[in-house]
Amino acid sequence: MAELNVGWKPRKENEYLGKEIPRVEGNEKASGHAKFANDINTKGTLYAKLLTCKHAHARIKSIDLDAAKKVKGVKGVFDFRKFLDDPKAFEIHYDGTIIAAVVAERPEQAEDGVKAIKVEYEVLDHFVDEQDLKGATEKKRTGEVGNAKKGDVEAALKDAKHVHKGYYGIHTITHMCLEPHGSHCEWKGEDLKVHLSTQNVSGTAGQFAGSPLIGIDQANVEIVCNYIGGGFGSKFAADQWGICAAVMAKELGAPVRLMLDRATELKIAGNRPSGFGNITVACDAEGRITAWDSEHWGSGGFTDVDKPGKTIDINQFPYVFDFENRNRKATGINTNCGPERAWRAPPHPQLCALTCTALDDLAAKAGMDSLEFYRKNIDQLATKAANPDIYRAEFDIAAKLLDWKGKWHPRGEGGKGAVKKGVGLAIHRWGGAAHAATCLVKVHPDGTVESFAGSQDIGTGTRTCIGLVLAETFGIPPSMVKVNIGTNKYPQSGPSGGSTTIGGVSGPNRRAGIEALGKIFDLVAEKYSVKADTLSAGKGKIWSGGKEVCSWKDAAKLIGPTALEVQGKGPVKDGLTSLEVGGVQMVEVAVDTETGKVRIEKFVAVQDCGLIVDLLTAKSQVYGSLIMGIAYSLSEERIMDNKTGRFINADLENYKLPRIGDIGELIVEMYQPDSEYERGVIGLGEPPVIAPGAAISNAVANAIGVRVPVLPLTPQRVLDSLAKAKG
C-alpha cells in the first residue's frame, strides 16, 4: 500500500483549508428548516411543565400532586423526589428547584396542572450573597479550598519599588442558552429515542440507560442532536429533567417533550461562578513584577450540606503569569444559589478579570504604559507550553490595529467634559487539545465521500470543518462530502467542551481520509501503471509528478461496487493537532462620567490557534466571544436578592443582554504566520471570551482614573466608584 504522509499539506497547496467558507447548515438555520429538540413534534407528543420552588431554602411540609391529575388534559405527574433514596429527606437548597413535572396533551393544560398542585413549605434560613465573605463566615458557609506559598512574598514586598493592593470581583452569570435545556423522548418497545439539546451526543445514552428509574441496555438508547441553540458548557448531561421526560414517555405510552421554561433555565441549568479577591502585587523600579499575594473567594452555588462550597480554581492564580514569590489562598462559599456548570473557558474569564486588572493597576502605580508593562513581564509565564514570542507578536499587531500608542494616556487624562476615553488590554491562554474521538469515512464508487461521527455541531462549524478536511484530503469540492453527525449510533466521538472538538474531529477524519486515499492510489497505480508513491490528489484529479493520471471519479470507480470504509481515530501524536493558544485583546471605551454609561468604541482581538481549517467560522468564534465578553463586562449579571433569596432577574427583561448597538466596532485578527500553520489544529471556541472583562475594565480605569472593581461595569457601579473616589 502506498505510504502517505498523514500530515497536513504544505500550506500553499491547500485549496480549502484556511479559506473563508460559509457553514454548510447556514441556510437551514436561517430559513427555520433546522429542527432543534424543541421543534420535534411526533404524533401524540405530550408536553411537560414544571412545578418549581420559589424559596431559596425550604422543606416540603405537605404536597398534593393528585390535584394536578384532575385537571383536564393532564396525563401524568412526575415527582422529582423519586431521585432521592429517601424522598422524605428532600430539601430545597435554591430558588427554582424542581418539585414535579406535569404532563398533558397541551402545554397550557400542563401549566394548569402545575397551578393545581398545592404545596406547603417550611421556609428555612438562606444565604445568597457571594460577595459577602464576612457574612458567609459568620453563617459558617465557608471553607478554605486552597492555600499555597512560593518564595518569600514578605521580603519581596519589602524590597519592591511599587506595591499595589486592590479589591476585584466578577459576578455570576448564567449560560442563557437561547434554546433551553430539554428533550423529546419517545419509546418504540424497549428502544428509547431522545432528541436531546446536548453538547455530548456520544456520552449521554448511558446516563439515560443507567438511571435507576429507567434501567435498560445502553444499546437501546438513541440520542439525536442535529442542532443546538447554545450550551456553552452547560449541556453535557441527561439531567433529571431528561430522565423525567423518558420515564413519563414510557409510563404514558406517548412521546413527551420537556423543555425548561426561561426562569428555570436561568436558575438551575448552570451558571458561571463568581470570584472576588484582595490582591497585592509588586514590582521593581523597572516594572518587573516581583511578588503576588492573593486571597479570593466566591461561590459555585449550592454544593452539598456541610461542604465548604466552591470557588474558582486556585492553581491558575495569578492567571497566565507566575512569579517567583507568590502566595495564594481561596475560600469557597456554599450559597443557596443554583449550582455552577462549566461556562466557556472555565474559570479563565474570572481568573483573567482578577489578575489582569490588578496588574494594570500596578502598572498605573508605577507610572508605566500598560503595554510596556506587559512586554516587560511576558517571559514570566506560568505554563511552559506558552510561547512569549507569540504574545509579543500579538501585542504589536493589536497595538497597531487599535493605535495604542496614539490613544494610551496616563490614568484619568481621558479628556475634558463628561465623556472620557481610555484604552485597556488583557491577555489569555487556553489548552485546546484534541479530545478522544473516532469516525468512519466512506468513499463511494461514484467519488462522493461520507463521514460519520457521534459528534455534534454546537454552532462552531464542526460539520463544515469535517467536510473541508476531507475535501482537502481527497482534492474534491466540499459539495462532494456529506458529513453525518448528531447521533450516538455513529462512531464514538467526544463531548464538545474545552475547545477540543476541532482537533478531535479533524485528526481522525484526516487520518481515515489519508488511509483511504492510499488504498485508492494503489488501485490507480495498478490500473494506470504509475508508481503509487508518486501520486497526489487535487482539483478533482489524481496526479503523478505534475501530470494528470485520471479524474477523481475514475479513481473512485476502481474501488468496486461497494464503498471503501476506513475508521479514523484520535488523538495521535502525529502533528495534525497540538495545544496551547494565547491571545491579546485591546479595547477603547468611552465613559459618561455623569451617567456611568460605558460604550465600546473599538475592540481588537488578536488570536492564535494553530492551523485554521475554516477562516470564516474561526473568526465567527472570536466575534461571538467578544459579544459575550462585552455582555458580562457591562450588563449581564445574575442578581440574587438577599431578602427573598431569589434569582430576582431570571427573565429576558432584567437579565440585561446587549443588542447590536451596544457592541461597537470589533476587529478580529487571526494570528497565522506559517509557524502557526505548522503547529496543527488547536481549539479556538473558548479563549477569546476570556480577556474582555479585564480589557474593558482596564480601559474604563484608564478613561476615568478610577478602578471600578467589580464586573459588570453597570452605570451604578461606575457612578458609585466615581463618588467613592471623590470622597
Binding site: 420559589k54 455623569e594 451617567t595 443588542r659 457612578l719
Partner: protein
Amino acid sequence: MTPFEYAHPRSEAEAVELMNEPGTSTAVLAGGTDLIRLLRRDLVTPQRVVNIKDIPSMQGIKPVDGGVMIGALTTLEDLAASPLMSEYHSLHHVLDGIRAIQIQSSGTVAGDLCHLPNCWYFRNGYGLLGMENGESLVETGDNRYHAIFGNRGPAKFVSASRFAPGMIAGQARVRVVGPKPDAEEWLPLEYFYITPKTNAQGVTVLKPGQLITHVWLPGTDTAQGKVQSSTYEVLQLEGLDWPLASAAVSMVVQSGVVQDARIVLGHVAPVPWISHEASRTIIGRRVTEETAAAAGEAAVASATPLSNNGYKVQLARTCVKRALLRAAGQETGGL
C-alpha cells in the same frame, strides 16, 4: 395563564358595556406588550379580556382645538410618523429610545401611559407594593431600580411610563370613559397617576370599567412664544431596556430667558415626578450649562434614596440638566 373570556368590541360604548358586567373582572388589551406578560405570569387574572384594538374612534391623530388629539390606540410607530407630531420634540426623544421593533409596531400610547411597574418584586408575584408577611421587600431587598422620590409610603416602585413625563410637562389631558355607559371625563394627565397605599389601588385613577380613549396635547405655539420641549432618558442598553431615570422639559423662552418651564422626572418615583424646584430654578434665567446644572441640583435636593439606589440621584440630576440643554437646542454632552 388563567383561562379568560375574550371580547372584541367595535365601539367605545360597546367596550364600556363589556367592561362593566357585574361580577366579571376585566382587563383591556390594546398592543398587549405588557398585558400578555402579566397574564402569562398570572399577575393579572381577569375573567374577561376586552380587545379594544378595532375601535375606530380611538385611532389616529387629528388637529383639535389648536393642539393634537391622539387616539389611545395610536401605535408608537404611527406617533413617530405623524407630521402633526413634528413639533413635540420631547415625545420624539422618547420614541428614539424605544428601539424594540415589536414595541414600536404594537405598543400604543395609552398602553404606555397605563404600563404597570417593572418592579421585580411585583413581577415575581409579591404584589404591586412588593410585600411579604406585611413587610416591604423593597425596603431592605434589592432596590437598585426603585424610587428615590415619593418612597416614604409602602409604594417604592417607579412609574413605568416613558411618555408621561413629556406629556405632563406639555400639559396633556386624557379622556376617560366609563364605568357608566355615558360617563366621560377629561382630566389633566398629571392627576391621572396615584401612589397606592394598597396592592388593590393600582397606579392610576382608573376604576374598574374605565379606560382612556384619547390624549389631547396643547399646541406648541403660545402667546409667549413657541414651546420648546425635550426628554432625556438614561438607558443602560441600546436595545430593549427600561430607562434608569429620565426627565422631560417643556418651556417657553423669550429673548433668551426662560419665561415658563415645567420639568417632570420619570422612573424615579411611583408617579411621574413634577419638580417645581427645578422649574423655579430655571425660570427667569438663560439656559446655560451652569443654570441647567443648578436646576438638576434643585431637582434632587429632596431625594430620599433607598439602601442601594443612591446612584439614581446622580442620574436624575443629569437628566434634568441635559433635558434643559436639549430643550434649549444646546449640546447635552454625554453618551
